[in-house]
Symmetry: C2
Subunit: 83 residues, 2 copies
């Protein structure tokens, strides 16, 4: 059993109100060194056995077809998860 991680973020030009709300709140708890926050999604896909190149290709397909909205999001990372 192994896992593949897929990271999806809003495209840079898309507004991120959740991230903005967090960025605004951080100074209120004393954390003043962060100039921006963006919130995205992380998926962990479990597979039987080892992560093969074919499974990574299937994960990239899942990322493009089901895990992201290509109009507003970028799949920024698909890789085997080190346990």
């Amino acid at each position: 059993m192994a896992r593949i991680v897929v990271d999806v973020m809003l495209k840079p030009e898309i507004l991120d109100p959740q991230g903005k709300a967090i960025a605004n709140e951080l100074p209120r708890i004393g954390l003043k060194n962060f100039t921006d926050v963006r919130q995205g999604k992380r998926f962990e896909l479990t597979v039987d056995g080892e992560v093969t190149e074919e499974l990574l290709a299937q994960a990239r397909e899942a990322a493009a077809e089901l895990l992201s909205n290509p109009v507003i999001e970028d799949v920024i990372n698909v890789e085997a998860l080190e346990d």
Copy 2:
């Protein structure tokens, strides 16, 4: 300018209906090799200058205080993002 990434996942014992819905949908688009899917959150925190140990400590504090709900979520990763 640099970024710190924070990954937050539901605790393993917490049900993840969104992940389950995705796992159920994958075979319908021909992807039958994934036995489970979990959906979590990825945050990117921007800082001025380089990522220092102090900024990483502040990011860990932000992760614990604001970016996660410790009752149901685990902060699984806080690290400088390689550009």
